[in-house]
């Protein structure tokens, strides 16, 4: 009797420690409740005249502006330009970061040669280079790509390096004693072991990518979403400005969701990610 009641208590406290698992409301509606409420408040506040339209236009007005931009094809064109810049910059910066992270994680010599220098450069906020970059490249594409690539480089470099260096040495020893070749050792132990950390770098890098692109496009561009917002500002089109900000937010979210999806796909062996996907 007593034993059973003790067990019950233990069960209860263990459950209390974990966040309560509630049944998701009809197909995961709950995360959207707050945004929708805010949207309604915004629309209501605008309609009642609490929020002047020169400060923050109604959602309906923003929607109308969005519609107009879509119809004219301006939106699609700007999105294409921005997305291409983001992707190219990310691939260049991420590619170099990944390659150097691997090289420095695997080879002492390579790390001795480059790591200190890279750690020093890392301490310069890359956006501090904007004036210099404008002097070098003007407002050409290279300026944006350079800044994005530089911003993305470091999170991916650091996390790849960290991942490779922190692969369980016991597993590596096992692989060696089981006669794995160098390429097998890399493909079957080091890379998969570093992958969780690499994904942290990718997700962080995506955040930096959008941030850099926004700054670069508002300061030095004649196309893209950021340019669209700056251009609209000159004509006091607050609705377009707000819409441009929303597009950025949407794209940031989209990139992050994609990365999370890939993460869950690639790391399904890890109980931490498995429980998330269930």
């Amino acid at each position: 009797m007593t034993a059973i009641s003790i067990q019950k208590e233990e069960g209860a406290s263990a459950r209390a420690l974990r966040p309560r698992r509630h049944k998701p409301l009809a197909g995961g509606v709950s995360p959207w409740l707050l945004p929708v409420a805010l949207l309604l408040l915004w629309q209501g506040g605008g309609a009642l005249g609490w929020i002047p339209p020169t400060i923050l236009p109604n959602p309906a007005d923003v929607l109308a502006a969005a519609w107009k931009l879509t119809q004219s094809g301006e939106l699609a064109q700007n999105i294409e330009v921005s997305a291409l810049r983001a992707a190219t910059g990310f691939l260049i910066g991420g590619g170099f970061g990944f390659a150097l992270g691997l090289a420095n994680g695997l080879s002492r010599l390579s790390a001795d040669l480059t790591d200190t220098t890279l750690q020093m450069v890392r301490n310069i906020p890359h956006l501090a280079l904007v004036p210099l970059v404008i002097l070098w490249f003007g407002i050409d594409e290279e300026a944006k790509l350079f800044l994005v690539a530089l911003g993305v480089f470091f999170p991916i470099y650091i996390n790849t390096l960290h991942g490779v260096r922190n692969v369980d040495p016991q597993l590596i020893e096992m692989g060696r004693s089981y006669g794995m070749s160098r390429s097998d050792l890399f493909g079957r132990i080091i890379f998969p072991g570093a992958l969780p950390s690499i994904f942290v770098g990718i997700r962080y890098g995506l955040g930096v990518m959008w941030l850099t692109l926004i700054v670069a496009e508002t300061i030095a561009a004649n196309s893209g979403i950021g340019y669209m917002a700056m251009h609209a500002r000159e004509f006091m089109r607050v609705d377009v400005v707000v819409f441009a900000i929303l597009v950025y937010a949407l794209f940031g979210k989209l990139a992050d969701s994609t990365a999370r999806f890939l993460e869950r796909l690639c790391l399904s062996w890890n109980p931490a990610y498995r429980s998330l996907s269930q």
Partner: protein, 265 residues
Amino acid sequence: MSHAPATIPDVSRQDRLGLPLNARHISKAFGETSVLSNLDVFVPAGQFLAIVGRSGCGKSTLLRLLADLDQPDAGEITLGHGVDRRVQTRVMFQEPRLLPWARVLPNVEVGLGADGRTPKGRERARLALASVGLGSRAQDWPSILSGGQRQRVALARALVSRPRLLALDEPLGALDALTRIEMQKLLEQAWLRLGFTAILVTHDVAEALTLADRIVMIEDGKISLDLCIDTPRPRRRGAVELARLEEQILSYLLREDAHEPDYVI
């Protein structure tokens, strides 16, 4: 028992796997501290040798040298007539050391090296997995297995390539008492069936007595006790004879003139 019947057929007397291991004048030091000094040990083909001794006496160090995980400072170690020890030796560690990102069957295939990914290799891995009673768990992630099951997968991985020498460093140390007895049986069965030479490091004298043909004790970098255990198998746990031997070994280990720790509590 849930163990499937042994699926690997018995190996006939003449092609039993074991090769003799010969270590001569082995020395090993880490920095200033000498761990092994001029140690000799010869392990005949197919013998089950247990290494016991106080914590820190150099059991793991010796095993790592014998298994070619480390190189001795001096001395020579040979397996058979100059067989490549790295290829013919498999090691089981205290931790299972399974690849968490590979399912159970691919983990066993690791034991076959490059052959593991051929259809034939896969089939061998499957058989090895079945022989440790986990045939139905081939597609599970290691993380959902129990500690004992993981160690059984590690045993299958170690044995799938039919090694000539199996080196075990307290492989059952982290298991609970019951699982440990099960694993001891499994290990003994595999050894009887395949006939590899086995070297087991353990701090558990009773375990050494259950499994080994011979027990050596390491003290001060040398072998201080070398004991043949010819009690017939299968050995009954808690048999009077084994209990007496255990008592003798322990009292030898704790004898007056043996090194006491430098501190007093």
